[in-house]
Every structure is written in structure tokens, then in C-alpha cells.
């Protein structure tokens, strides 16, 4: 059967338009705009413009070149401060409660005369890692997500994008990348799907490859938990939450800076080109529906992220218990594997267990910290761990953590390969294993280099013995 083709008609059409194709297109678009303008003019009447003016006045301050960034940093800091200050107490309570249950479970296994390996695998492996996921991750999530959703509902995030827009243009990337990056704060996989709003394939690729440099829902709680475990207690109490807040906010700013630098580097090397222009729309401020925000952020985000963590942490906890209890010669399998990674990890200011936790955390970033705790607990002498103070004791006294270790761990959490879901999404969006591989390699390389630099500079400066 003859193939139908529009080619002759397209040729015919070009006879009408040929010398002035772009003018023709402009004329079509202009007619549509003019019609819309006429109709709107006929049916809409304003009796007052005061509210609109009020919105504009707020925008002039929030997006001003002078105040935009201090305000942004301030808002970020307040959100983190509330989260860090608020998460400590419920975390402690949850830990106490969940480990009380663990003790009762152990009693139950004793009464039933269950074999040691079964008790070890189920209670010390699976249950314990679940308990850590919930105790360490749930409180920061339950506080952070609603606050973040409120900002989103209010209309603040597009203003953030507006502030950052000119920097992205300077970096040779698309202004809309500021939006996709902000989406990445929620979830990198979502941020990568959002890259579809960028028209040019070159700029979409830049946005895709650099989306991972901002912490997502899964990594925020890790950062916050680490900061509160570590810094809370090491400085005097009144100062501790302020220092912790600055640390997380600083890390986010660092992530944005890395996003811009890598975008710039990409647009100067393998993805060369000029940034295309666009107009960013600032939506009106809306009064958030607080009740709905609370319900939605708890149900959609907190429970979603938590359940993902639980599903992955359960088998991971079991696996770690097995690795920690299988011995070859005199060493456990866990310590052998961690030992392999130790040289590189030490160079980066980490240790083998931390690096191993990041690798095992590939399916979901939210389980990195619980896995790390598990491997420390299983591998070390310390078997009883029932409060956050014990956790600090475990990290600092048993495993020699310093503030530098915490800093390097947080930096590597910010800059390492994207989680499995995100990688899968990149593959699906770009249809290319090559770009997917690059999306994993770029942040990993940045993370390794930055960690090595931080570690060695700090040591060389003699800030840490």
C-alpha cells in the first residue's frame, strides 16, 4: 500500500513562507496572543490592583540582588534549625522505645528456645536495622517535610529559582535548571523527570547530570541526623543547634555551588553551546492550606520515604548480620570487605565501613546511616546500643570519629552516585547508558576529590591531630 506522506504539502506550504519562515511563525503566534488579549480585555474588569501591587512589593525585596540571597539563606537556616532542634527529643524517645521492644523480642526467642542464628538474623539483623531507620530518620523527616511543603505551597521556591536564574545562565545552562534543581531537593528522580521542561537537549542533559548535587528527601535526614548526633553534645548546648544549622545550610549552599560549577564545566567542554532564553513566571503568593499540607507531606513524603527505607533496610540489615557473622580465618567477612576499602576511604577522611555503607545504600540513600550503624554494631564489641548518646559514644569513642570524619561523610553524602531509582530514571529519560554512567561518575569523582582535599587540607593545617 502506498505510504501517505505530507511532504508535497509541506513543500507547498514552504512556497508561501520560504523567504520569511520565522516572520510567518511570529505572525501566527502574535495573532493568537492578540486574540487572547482582546477577549481577556472584554471579559475582565479590575476594581483594584492593590493586592497585585503588594505581591510585587514583596517580590522586589525577596528577589532583589541585595536581599535575595541573605533572605534565602535565612529561610533555609530557620527550616533546618526547627528540624534539628525539634528532632532530637523524639529521636531519643523512639530509640529507647524501639530497643526496649528489641529486648522483649530477645526474651521471646529465649523462651521459645530459638537457635542463635535465627535470633541473630531476625532480631539483631533485620529488626535492629529497621529500628535505626525509624529512630534516626523519622523525626527529621516528620518535621522537615511539612515545613518544606509549606514553603512550596506559599510560592517561595519559584522565587529561589528566580534568584538563581542568572547564575545558571552565566554557567551556560538553562535558567529553568534552577527549577529542576529545586525539585531535586524533594527527590532527584522527580527533578530529573522535571528536566523535560527544558527544551534544548543540551541544557536538559546538563540539568540531568548535575541534579544529584542537591540533597534529596533521602539525604536531608541523613545530614540532619548526622549533624545532630555529632555536633549536639560536642559544643555547649546553647550553641550546638546553631552550629548544626549552619553546617547543614552551608552544605546546601555548597551543593548549589557545585551544581553551578559542574554545569559551567560541562557547557564549556562536552556540552558546548549558548544558553537559550526564557521567561520565568512568578506565581502569586497563596495562603497554604496548613491542614492539607500536613496530611499530604506526612502521607506522601514521610511515609513514602520511610517505607522505601524500611523495605530496603530489612534485607540490608540481614545481609550485614550475615557478613558480620561469617568468618574466614580469624576475620569476619564484613571487616575483610571494609578492609579492602579502607585505604581509599582513609584518604577521603572516611573509613572502610562508611564507604561500604554508601555502596550498600545504592538502592536508597535513606539507609546509608542505619547501615553504617549496623555494621559498626555487628562488627564491634559494643552490642548494647539503646540511646542517641550511645550512638555518639559508638562513633566517637569506638570508631574514632572526629568532626572531620562527620564533615567528610556529609560531603560524600552530598556528592556521590545517585540512588538506584534516580539512575533508572536517567536511563529512561535519556535512553542512554553512557549518560547514565556519566551521571554516576561525575558526582562520585567530585565527591572523592573534594573529600580528599578537605581531609588533607585540614590535616595539613594541623586543625586535627
Amino acid at each position: 500500500m502506498a505510504q501517505k506522506t505530507l511532504a508535497p504539502l509541506l513543500e507547498e506550504a514552504q512556497k508561501f513562507t520560504s523567504p520569511r519562515q520565522s516572520q510567518f511563525r511570529d505572525s501566527i503566534v502574535t495573532s493568537i496572543y492578540r486574540t487572547a488579549e482582546q477577549i481577556a480585555g472584554d471579559v475582565v474588569s479590575h476594581t483594584s490592583t492593590s493586592r497585585r501591587d503588594f505581591d510585587r512589593q514583596i517580590d522586589n525585596i525577596i528577589t532583589s540582588p541585595v536581599w535575595g540571597f541573605p533572605i534565602m539563606f535565612g529561610v533555609l537556616a530557620v527550616v533546618f534549625w526547627i528540624t534539628i532542634a525539634g528532632a532530637n527529643i523524639p529521636s531519643g524517645l523512639l530509640a529507647t522505645g524501639l530497643f526496649w521492644i528489641e529486648a522483649r523480642l530477645t526474651d521471646l526467642f529465649m523462651v521459645l528456645n530459638a537457635p542463635d542464628w535465627l535470633h541473630g538474623f531476625l532480631v539483631l539483623g533485620v529488626y535492629r536495622s529497621l529500628a535505626w531507620v525509624i529512630a534516626v530518620m523519622l523525626p527529621p523527616m516528620a518535621i522537615f517535610f511539612p515545613l518544606f511543603t509549606l514553603l512550596e505551597d506559599l510560592g517561595y521556591l519559584p522565587r529561589v529559582a528566580f534568584n538563581l536564574d542568572r547564575f545558571f545562565k552565566k554557567a551556560g545552562a538553562h535558567g529553568k535548571q534552577a527549577l529542576t534543581m529545586s525539585m531535586g531537593f524533594g527527590c532527584n528522580a522527580a527533578g530529573i523527570i522535571a528536566c523535560r521542561i527544558i527544551e534544548s537537549p543540551r541544557e536538559r542533559l546538563i540539568a540531568t547530570l548535575t541534579n544529584n548535587f542537591v540533597p534529596c528527601n533521602g539525604r536531608f535526614p541523613t545530614l540532619i541526623a548526622l549533624v545532630s548526633i555529632f555536633i549536639a553534645g560536642s559544643v555547649s548546648l546553647s550553641l550546638s543547634s546553631a552550629v548544626a544549622t549552619m553546617a547543614v545550610a552551608g552544605l546546601v549552599v555548597f551543593g548549589i555551588a557545585v551544581t553551578l560549577s559542574i554545569s559551567w564545566l560541562l557547557s564549556k567542554t562536552i556540552l558546548r553551546g549558548k544558553p537559550s532564553s526564557f521567561t520565568l513566571e512568578l506565581p502569586p503568593y497563596r495562603k497554604p492550606l496548613v491542614g492539607q499540607v500536613l496530611i499530604r507531606s506526612v502521607l506522601d513524603r514521610t511515609l513514602f520515604v520511610l517505607s522505601r527505607a524500611v523495605i530496603i533496610a530489612a534485607p540490608a540489615g540481614g545481609l550485614i548480620w550475615i557478613l558480620a557473622n561469617t568468618t574466614i580465618g580469624s576475620a569476619t567477612l564484613l571487616s575483610i570487605i571494609a578492609g579492602w576499602m579502607d585505604p581509599l576511604a582513609r584518604l577521603m577522611g572516611l573509613d572502610g565501613f562508611i564507604l561500604l555503607a554508601f555502596i550498600l545504600g545504592l538502592p536508597a540513600n535513606e539507609i546509608v546511616l542505619p547501615i553504617l550503624i549496623m555494621s559498626y554494631v555487628c562488627g564491634g564489641a559494643m552490642t548494647e546500643l539503646s540511646s542517641l548518646a550511645d550512638l555518639r559514644h559508638l562513633l566517637v569513642d569506638q570508631h574514632g570519629w572526629t568532626w572531620l570524619t562527620a564533615l567528610c561523610t556529609m560531603t560524600f553524602s552530598l556528592c556521590h552516585w545517585p540512588c538506584g531509582t534516580t539512575l533508572f530514571t536517567i536511563q529512561r529519560e535519556q535512553h542512554s547508558w553512557r549518560w547514565t554512567l556519566l551521571a554516576a561518575l561525575i558526582p562520585t569523582a567530585v565527591g572523592v576529590i573534594v573529600c580528599i582535599l578537605i581531609n588533607n587540607l585540614v590535616r595539613a593545617a594541623g586543625l586535627i591531630v
Partner: protein, 262 residues
């Protein structure tokens, strides 16, 4: 995730867009600019909890859900929010291809009452592709607060399609919206969109080309709109349409009346 970017490059018919059309009576598309409360309308109608946000570009992937009205089952497809359908980006292409090839029984265009002018651009473009359009003027509560008055009867008159004012967050106007969707899908209301009038030069080109375009594509695709796209030199769309036409030909359940140019 049926409707992904991949699927839009290839043959796109309703069956591919959503495999399970059997268990519902009508397919309704939901289009609109970003940040007009489109997802809120979607959630309010379907009872689903898609995440909404004050955030342009929230819905990039489409969502779908069903609702029952007057004992008929409707499948509602939430298209990505776009400012136009001139297909500058993947999400615009997704929205355009769905309206063009999946041919929904009705398309709701959600517009923001507080900035009607900018939002009407999209409504006008949708109305060029399909007649079965209902314009939903959302955020009417916000417009009231901002002291913006809107004459919906006049708007309906000027556009030639039914118009309903809603405040989806509080549920205002939604039952009227569902009634109108029902009327349009059932064919009780036949919207007659007022076409956009172009410049003399463009209109003359359309007058010459459109009959031949119509002869080739038949009535499935709006020939005035396609002629405009030819004049616009949208080669990607042309390729998609050729694929669609040839696939339809091969399927050839119903031979077309006009085979003249094939």
C-alpha cells in the same frame, strides 16, 4: 506509567495512551497552564491525592484517575501543564499529541482567573485542535479576593465553548463542571470554537492549502490546525502525523472516503 516521553515519538493512538479504555465510558483530558490549580481540579474530581504545589511545572508526567458522574464512568487524564502547544518541549508535545491523536471525548482547559489573558493562549490553541472543549476558570476565589471581575457568560460567547468558574480548593463549581463535561462528551452540547483570525497573508495560505490537507487526513485531525502547523514548518509533527495516518491505513478497519492523494 503508560504515557511517557518515549511513547509520543511513535504511533500514538488512544489504545497506546491508555490500555484500559474498556472499563470507562468516556476519556477526558485535563489541560492548562502550569500553576493554575490543574492538579487540584484533578484531585477534586477523582479523589486522588496527586501532590499539588504552588509551583510551575509540577505535573510533568501525566496522572490519570476515574470518577463517576450520572452513573457514567469517566477517565480523567491530567496532561503536563504547558503555556502553549507549539511543541517547544517534550511536555508540550505530550499534551498536544494526546489531544490530537488520543482524541479525548472532551478536553477541560483549566485557566487561572487572576491572569486570564496569558492563560487564554493555551485555550485558543487547544480549541484549534478539538471542538470538544470546556474552559474551567479556576481560582475564582482568589480573583474575588483580588477584586477581579470576570464575565463568564461573555467569555463563553467569545470563545464559542462552555465556560465554568470554579474554586477547586473549596469544591465550588465542580458539579457544574462535571455536568458540562457530561453534556459535551454525550454530544448534548456541541461547542463551536471561534477560530483565531490570522493575518491576511496567513489566511490566504490556509485557504489554498486546507482543502488538500483535508483530502489527505480526513476528519480525524483538524485540517485548519494542521495547515497552520505546515505553515509553521513543524517537521516533527508532520512525521508523527504520517506515522499515525499510515498505521490507521494498515489497521484499515474503516476505509476512508477520501483516498484521492494517497
Amino acid at each position: 506509567m503508560g504515557l511517557t516521553y518515549q511513547s509520543t515519538g511513535q504511533l500514538t493512538t488512544r489504545e497506546i495512551f491508555n490500555a484500559n479504555t474498556d472499563n470507562c465510558d468516556y476519556v477526558i483530558a485535563l489541560a492548562g497552564n502550569p500553576n493554575t490549580g490543574k492538579s487540584t481540579v484533578f484531585n477534586a474530581l477523582t479523589g486522588l491525592r496527586q501532590h499539588t504545589g504552588n509551583w510551575p511545572g509540577k505535573t510533568v508526567q501525566r496522572a490519570e484517575g476515574t470518577y463517576i458522574h450520572k452513573s457514567r464512568r469517566y477517565r480523567l487524564i491530567d496532561l503536563p501543564g504547558t503555556y502553549s502547544l507549539l511543541a517547544n518541549s517534550a511536555d508540550e508535545e505530550v499534551a498536544r499529541d494526546f489531544i490530537c491523536f488520543a482524541r479525548p471525548d472532551a478536553t477541560i482547559v483549566v485557566v487561572d482567573a487572576t491572569c486570564l489573558e496569558r492563560n487564554l493562549n493555551l485555550a485558543l490553541q487547544v480549541m484549534e485542535i478539538t471542538d470538544k472543549v470546556i474552559v474551567c476558570v479556576n481560582l475564582i476565589d482568589e480573583a474575588r479576593r483580588k477584586k477581579i471581575q470576570l464575565n463568564t457568560a461573555k467569555l463563553s460567547d467569545r470563545l464559542g465553548v462552555p465556560v465554568v468558574a470554579t474554586a477547586a480548593r473549596s469544591g465550588e463549581g465542580l458539579s457544574r463542571l462535571m455536568d458540562l463535561v457530561d453534556d459535551v462528551a454525550m454530544g448534548r452540547i456541541l461547542p463551536k470554537p471561534q477560530p483565531v483570525r490570522y493575518s491576511k497573508e496567513v489566511e490566504e495560505a490556509i485557504a489554498q492549502l486546507e482543502p488538500r490537507v483535508r483530502a489527505l487526513v480526513g476528519e480525524d485531525i483538524n485540517s485548519r490546525w494542521l495547515t497552520l502547523r505546515l505553515l509553521d514548518c513543524d517537521t516533527r509533527l508532520v512525521r508523527t502525523i504520517e506515522n499515525y495516518l499510515n498505521a490507521r491505513e494498515t489497521a484499515a478497519a474503516v476505509p476512508l472516503a477520501q483516498e484521492g492523494l494517497a
